[in-house]
């Protein structure tokens, strides 16, 4: 099983990933980016968008 994961130290909180996600599974809160796993289809668009490589699709432990 796969999931979307975030490397927080690389994230600049620009919100671009939120804007490209067509499934509203990302939310940029005041404390940082939140992934709503239950809505994510693993379409990969946010991973391609992210300017710093902070997002990746990884195996679920």
């Amino acid at each position: 099983m796969k999931k979307l994961s975030l490397k927080m130290d690389l994230c600049g909180e620009c919100g671009g990933c939120v804007a490209v996600c067509a499934f509203e599974s990302l939310d940029l809160e005041s404390q940082g980016l939140r992934i709503k796993e239950e809505l994510c289809t693993l379409c990969n668009d946010c991973v391609v968008f992210c300017p710093s490589g902070a997002l990746e699709i990884t195996d679920k432990e």
Partner: protein, 394 residues
């Protein structure tokens, strides 16, 4: 539900603070929400704006301005750059000061500003109309009533989506950017630079915008669908190594720039979308400050008129979209067309266009040319080779 407002503005960037200011000046009860604990942070911007763009604010505070642009350099992959003197090209701002000042100006005119306050949803009445906002502050949710909502919540905007506007961006309709604030040398403090080329920045460009005191915003944007999985950060690191002999990184930031599309919707019922939330960015240059200011201002004016003539139906608010597009629609559509061509350009096309401009600008007074005139001249010279003078576009 708690307090009642005439208008709730979501997001205290340039668009939101402008809208809140106009409404507050007209004595309406306005709430301006900012989810961060400080206005103006984190910042994702290269901070350049034209004099005309900045004058939309009406009262300009000199403390906003970090440097004046006197020259522009366009650098194609070969390095055979074109440098033009252009004394009225624009300014580089300090947006931390600028954004905070605009929010405080709205507040001193009577708007209520709440920071650390995130809008998390809209509230419908039993007729299905939007009548309020849910807001989260310090971990607690509360509800506020309002007659109008102005969405100024930037690229990550959710307000429009909650209202049923599908404005998710496609990977070819957004720029993915990374920027450093560098202490660097060599640097010409009066000259802004644009570096073009499919290997330097596929579907985008790299920039150097001096900010005074040996500092500069040095960034790079790509169109992610053309990036072949290379990240803007990797390309920028490579560019910085090549461009500067010495440098040290003072700050870094990531950024997303939405491109305007014909589909962009500005009004739905009593919700008005402004600035980046409405995708009102020049699709070619990525400039959005002036459009954010103008859309915020017009949204505030139309909302104010609506509130005064209480009998109006929400259809009246469509006037905002009409008025904004009357002023900016043609320009935004033109740049969006130019972006499509730009994304197809190859390195030899960049060389040819810069060659053309070297000749063209010899005969013309560049300070009198508008960006659109220059772009049209390029198109006329060879419709295939369109290089937009992105710098002239703010």
């Amino acid at each position: 539900m708690k307090d009642k407002y005439d208008c709730i503005v979501v997001g205290a960037g340039p668009a939101g603070s402008m809208a809140a200011w106009v409404l507050a000046k007209n004595k309406h009860k306005v709430l301006l929400l900012e989810k961060h604990k400080e206005v103006g942070l984190p910042l994702c911007c290269a901070e350049a704006v034209s004099f005309r763009g900045l004058s939309i604010c009406e009262q300009v505070n000199p403390a906003w301005i970090r440097s004046k642009i006197e020259k522009i350099a366009l650098c194609p992959p070969s390095g055979k750059e074109l440098k033009v003197s252009y004394s009225s090209a624009g300014l580089v701002l300090d947006r931390k000061i600028f954004d905070r000042d605009l929010a405080l100006r709205a507040e001193s005119s009577g708007a209520e500003l709440k920071v650390n306050a995130q809008a998390v949803g809209l509230i419908n009445n039993n007729r299905g109309e939007i009548c309020g906002i849910r807001m989260k502050k310090d971990g607690r949710e509360s509800e506020y009533q309002t007659k109008i909502v102005i969405a100024a919540d930037g690229i990550e905007s959710m307000v429009g989506r909650w209202a049923g506007i599908d404005n998710a961006l496609k990977l070819e309709g957004v720029d993915s950017a990374y920027q450093y604030l560098l202490k660097a040398d060599p640097l010409d403090q009066e000259c802004i630079e644009f570096h073009l080329g499919t290997k330097i920045a596929p579907g985008g460009y790299a920039w150097v915008f001096p900010k005074g005191k040996g500092l500069a915003n040095v960034g790079l944007a790509i169109t992610p669908s053309l990036g072949n999985n290379i990240k803007a950060k990797e390309l920028l690191d490579f560019f910085v190594m090549k461009r500067f002999k010495n440098f040290s990184v003072v700050e870094w930031m990531t950024g997303g720039v939405p491109a305007f599309s014909r589909r962009s919707q500005l009004v739905k019922g009593n919700i008005l979308l402004t600035g980046d939330a409405a995708r009102l960015v020049d699709s070619l240059s990525g400039a959005g400050i002036a459009n954010a200011l103008l859309s915020g201002k017009i949204a505030g004016q139309v909302a104010s008129e609506y509130l005064v003539n209480g009998g109006n139906s929400p259809d009246f608010l469509k006037k905002y979209e009409e008025e904004f597009l009357k002023i900016k629609g043609r320009e935004l559509r033109f740049y969006s067309y130019c972006r499509k061509i730009y994304l197809k350009m190859r390195d030899e096309d960049f060389e040819e266009v810069i060659q053309f401009l070297k000749e063209y600008l010899k005969d013309e007074d560049s300070t009198r040319l508008t960006p659109i005139q220059t772009l049209k001249a390029i198109l006329r010279s060879n419709p295939k080779l369109l290089l937009l003078l992105r710098h002239l576009v703010w």
